[in-house]
Amino acid sequence: MTLPVELRHDETFVLNLGPQHPATHGVLRVKLTMDGEYIVHAEPVLGYIHRMHEKIAEAGSFPQFMPNTARMDYLHALAFNHGYALVVEKAAGIEVPERAEYIRVITVELNRIASHLLWWAAFLLDLGGFTPLLYAFDDREKVLDLLERITGSRLTYCYMRFGGVYNDIDDEFIAGTRDFIRRLRSRMPRLYHDLVTHNIILIKRITDIGFISAEQCRRYGATGPVARGSGIDFDVRKNEPYSVYPEFDFDVPVYHECDSMARYMVRVDEMEQSMRIIEQALDKLPDGPVQAKVPKNLKPEAGYYYSAVETARGSLGHRLVCDGGKNPYKLKLRSPTFSNLSLFGEVAEGMLLADALAFMGSLDLVIPEIDR
């Protein structure tokens, strides 16, 4: 008799979760050694959508790489735009006009809301709730429409320029953004919290699942909502303020439960904080140019540069090494989920398959950003 499942001596078997699997939201493969439905060992296998962006960066000039930045984290592409613009501006010593900084913050935060909405939808889908997906997409659609008006694209933006932004915002955008914020605020309590957050099935499903201690976060270098769900008060926007973030009054939601529910709450609360930032930015929006004078042929001084920004998933770092030429000599991208995912194996050990997927969903993985 032949058994479809090859059992080892210890009665475990290997289950390949992915690279094509509904729960991995992309092409991630997790090699699971299972004992029944319990995970004995979990090993993520990366690289299925690796495109060697770092080599591409070295091959072209500084502005040529800008469109590529959006192709990594396609959910929070503007933050990648922003991070890259920041590091090059640092290296080349470019001053950004204040209005451009405000517009950057507004668009990045709008994009963050869109990213969190999509995460929320996908997470609920992982847990088997299909309807919330449509509600979240409804709201996300509004953000994409707004951003499309001023950036020209819906997902993979190339909006930032060294020393400013590509396009100024107009009154219609401002009115639309205010409308969107009003709409999301009114929908939040009923469609999001009553239906989902306070749902007993959801609460039972993700509370105490995927416990990540603060120490574990530090050892693996986890950042973003994953770290904030473990009681670590770390947000690059607060800790190392960049752009015009110091001018805004916003909180960093921190939860100490260390479980999937805590990470869920962090992200849901962050949407409200992003809305607060956008409102303040719209109120204070100064007049002026949105683009500084920047030499066409950018040749930053030789040296080592680093810039960090907070994306929806955590701290994004750009490590730039210049040799004085017009190409980046070396551009290393520190993507947040790469570090966040690296703790999956340790935490998932001994979990049930269903819980491990609820845990994986709460990490908010964007695979192209991990594989770069």
Binding site: M1, T2, L3, L7, D10, E11
Partner: protein, 186 residues
């Protein structure tokens, strides 16, 4: 319960209810035989279990024709629904048996003839019994129709032994499944 065709007609045609009933009876017999054959002949354990389930289903049909719908339902519920599934479950969880070593080869050679002779003996005995029995029409009773009060009374009086035996079968199935499932865990 609506009466089955009763008393039997002398020469039923194929396109009458009697004919249909007869065909269904033959089908149930065929189920029993093919199921049994699959269970015995099949090389794969899962197929053997499926054969067993088919055989049990056929047997339930036979019970129904014997005017014991309650037993027929029980046959389906317990043997097909519970015992077969537990066996299949056990097989799924068990590690595949290693090839039988050369030391046991003579046993495996002996099993076939032994089984055939025992089976043949039973078959012969039943045939003789069937031929010798003075068959007579069994009167329909309320008990046979599956009336709940009668079923309850018979289960707890005249057939209480059977009732207990069934629970032993179930207990065995549960314990067996547990033993198989628990092996390898500490």
């Amino acid at each position: 319960m609506q009466p089955l065709v009763w008393p039997p007609m002398a020469n039923p045609t194929l396109f009458s209810l009697e004919g249909a009933v007869g065909i269904i009876f033959l089908l149930t017999i065929a189920l029993v035989v093919t199921g049994g054959l699959i269970a015995v002949v099949s090389q794969r354990l899962v197929r053997a279990v499926s054969g067993l389930a088919i055989c049990f289903t056929g047997l339930a049909g036979v019970y129904y024709f014997l005017l014991s719908p309650f037993v027929a339902m029980m046959q389906l519920l317990i043997y097909v629904g519970a015992v077969s599934i537990l066996i299949a479950f056990g097989i799924m969880m068990a590690t595949p048996e290693q090839e039988i070593g050369p030391g046991n080869a003579w046993i495996s050679r002996l099993v076939g003839p032994l089984g055939a002779s025992v089976g043949g003996l039973f078959f012969a005995a039943l045939t003789i019994l069937g031929l010798k029995t003075p068959w007579q029409v069994f009167p329909r009773t309320a008990e046979a129709s599956g009336d709940i009060e009668q079923v309850g009374k018979t289960l707890l009086t005249s057939h209480s032994m059977v009732f207990e035996l069934i629970s032993i079968v179930l207990l065995m199935a549960i314990i067996g499944a547990l033993v198989i499932a628990r092996r390898g865990r500490n």
